[in-house]
Subunit: 441 residues, 2 copies
């Protein structure tokens, strides 16, 4: 049986999962390809530690160069993360004519252009299914299964850490910092959780999905990003009362001659499927002209789900190798000459419905002052709730708006925050996705 | 730009959708392939009728033979359904070295073996994404994206007509016959709805998924099939009260050395995502050793969602043609020599939880007699509800059981039906899927 040689860089969680899958499911995988995926190298700085998987010690190396240079290696799997060593390794592998599989969303979102241009020149494949939403086959679906569609929107719960934290606050009423601690204890959040909780990781993934969906190049800085640090049990309770769950949603919409691309906490109606996606689970919805909505739910992280995506890329590329072809599917979903520059709409210009919570003194006229300011900016009010007086000087006022322009909302909030009758800054959470299957934001 | 010639057989709903998509999204599709998908022929008995799509009249033919014989045709799309003319057309196309795309689940479930053997010999591809669950990319996902997994189960709401009818009964309390009429008016159900409402269509689809998931051949007759004709608003109301929705679920499970394959109405807990899939929407869950659960939701029927799946196959095969390869992915997901014969477990041997509704005389001792019989067959009772006495002689008794063997349940029910204290036959509905993400049946 023909052997395809794989060189793995990075023996951390996902690397261990890939070794485990290639070893324990060797027979299954061969029966799917008609060839054997052979682990030629596993490179890591620490090759002494027991990773809990069977591995032939002789394949362990500390030197990345061996992996990307050995002519025997057919496919290099990059699983070290980061944007410097990983990029150098991938570029060298490509230069040496090797196919590449990576789970590195930060690198692809930032330096994807360099990598894909080099791959195009070298006529090698780059698999990156594992970079977005773990085992959910969203990359392959956009590039292949849904490829007859003009895609209107792609949106998703793309960060399991944030979804776990928000679920915890929702179900237990814990405050953010405690929920984060719980996520760290469970291994869902890193010691430095910045990338996750500030929405940056979700933005990396959204950049990749946006580029593939519309056939465009996108600058990471053009994506509006707002994390979940300021979400309180109080706002989640108000949301529940109004019929919404709060999720960190990554949203990308094609709006004619521009694209919206944004990551922010979003209130989602109970009857929308996104509202039922809890814990560390991920979900993605694709809306296209022929399919309407197509919704995927699955594990977005973790050793084995991510390994499953990596190995599916290995199988895909192996099938290309056996068929003596490469880049059978355009690397970025559309043929190079069709990739366009589409502007990203500034956040100020988006339309959304909004949830506001103001803290105001409890006396007559306050509501009319606030609603007067909103009205002066053309923001229509759908509902107002003022909590009962509990002998406190300040009471929360919760307002839900109709569709309004972000710039108007910001101005109105600035004006209201300045009022002597309000105390502290207003809370603003955008409301999205009216109902499945209409899926309008 | 290179041209790939497509011959379409059948200008009905899906055929019209395919023509519409290939015409109206021509530019998009070319930008995905780097070649043009050209409609060379559309064959139908009626080529006069206006189908509401732009089409060059000269491509319309009434003769299938022209389509499957013309050496210019690269891919034949079979969309006439049925198992005789369709099979002849497909076999001729394959013999003539043409690739085939079909949405014909009945044909594949019945005569798949002949078709795939012929295709293997002729080294042509057979695309059938549209045969199961419309635009949901479940075929490609099993064959490619999830291919590193030992699949434990595949289950799904695979028939939109039944799901529409059950949703209607649930939301409006209408009886089955009225809900069916509504489905027919909406165009969701055929004039002769037998294939849908008796679960046969879902069984055809389950046969295809089962074969692909485990790499096995399956005999359609081995699949247990029970339709939705006998589902009443009364039982759906009891189910709601118990925390369940009733769905027609197609279930396939790998249980070591055998497979379970069955289609029947199933009570699903509210917190399972299947319970939220309503109207004519389809959903599929795949459980695998690396991924855990992966859940897909999308439109399972209709002109454009089905056309999207057909055209995705055309794009896939075109990419193979341009790469000078075919059968890059094994036709049936596993290499030929790895396809096994795995026995299908007789229905009598499956384990499930059950919902029973008995109609019994309202007098002391009745409950103990019934529970005594269940107990004598080793069936444990989890809950019993007896409706309040409304001055009627007979009252409904609703029982939910723990896991029990189907054969024991059947025996117990037979015994209970014979009792003079019961009136009419007992109602039995199986209970499935405890909760996402455990997904145990």
């Amino acid at each position: 049986m023909r052997q395809i040689n794989v060189g793995i860089i990075g023996f951390g969680t996902v690397g261990t999962g890939v070794v485990k899958l290639l070893t324990e499911s060797r027979e299954l995988i061969s029966s799917r390809i008609g060839a054997e995926l052979h682990i030629k190298y596993v490179a890591d700085l620490d090759i002494e530690r027991d990773r809990g998987v069977k591995i032939d010690k002789s394949v362990l190396v500390t030197d990345i160069d061996t992996v990307v240079s050995d002519p025997c290696v057919d496919i290099v799997v990059e699983l070290i993360g980061g944007e410097t060593i990983a990029k150098t390794a991938i570029m060298k592998a490509i230069e040496n004519g090797k196919h590449v599989v990576t789970a590195n969303k930060a690198l692809l979102a930032g330096a994807g252009k360099d990598i894909f241009s080099a791959a195009a020149r070298a006529k090698v494949d780059v698999g990156f299914e594992a970079s977005v939403a773990g085992c959910i086959p969203i990359i392959k679906s956009i590039k292949e299964s849904l490829s007859a569609n003009h895609i209107h929107s792609v949106s998703g719960i793309l960060n399991g850490t944030c979804n776990y934290i928000l679920t915890k606050i929702t179900s237990e009423g814990t405050v953010f910092s405690q929920a984060l601690e719980a996520a760290q204890k469970k291994g869902y959040a890193e010691a430095d959780p910045t990338l996750d909780i500030e929405g940056i990781d979700a933005a990396h993934k959204l950049a990749i999905l946006t580029a593939l969906a519309y056939g465009m190049t996108i600058n990471l800085d053009d994506i509006y990003v707002e994390g979940i640090k300021d979400i309180t049990p109080e706002d989640i309770k108000h949301a529940e009362h109004l019929g919404y769950r709060v999720k960190l949603l990554a949203i990308s919409k094609f709006v004619g001659d521009a694209v919206e691309a944004r990551v922010h906490p979003t209130m989602i109606p109970f009857d929308n499927l996104f509202a039922s996606v809890n814990d560390s689970v991920n979900a993605v919805n694709v809306n296209g002209d022929a399919i309407g909505d197509m919704f995927f739910v699955g594990k977005g992280a973790g050793m084995m789900p991510t390994a499953s995506a990596v190995v599916s890329d290995l199988i895909d590329i192996s099938r290309n190798i056996l068929s003596c072809t490469s880049q059978r599917v355009p690397l970025l979903s559309y043929c190079d000459e069709s990739i366009k520059t589409i502007p990203v709409l500034p956040m100020d210009e988006i339309l959304s419905r909004y949830y506001f919570r103001f803290t105001a003194v409890d006396r007559p006229g306050v509501l009319s002052t606030i609603s007067g300011i909103l009205g002066s900016y053309g923001i229509s009010i759908k509902s107002v709730q003022q909590a009962e007086d509990k002998n406190e000087r300040h009471v929360p006022i919760v307002i839900v708006t109709g569709p309004a322009r972000e710039a108007d909302v910001k101005q109105a909030i600035t004006d209201i925050n300045k009022l002597p009758i309000t105390n502290g800054k207003a809370v603003l959470i955008r409301i999205g996705i009216e109902s499945w299957p209409e899926n309008s934001f």
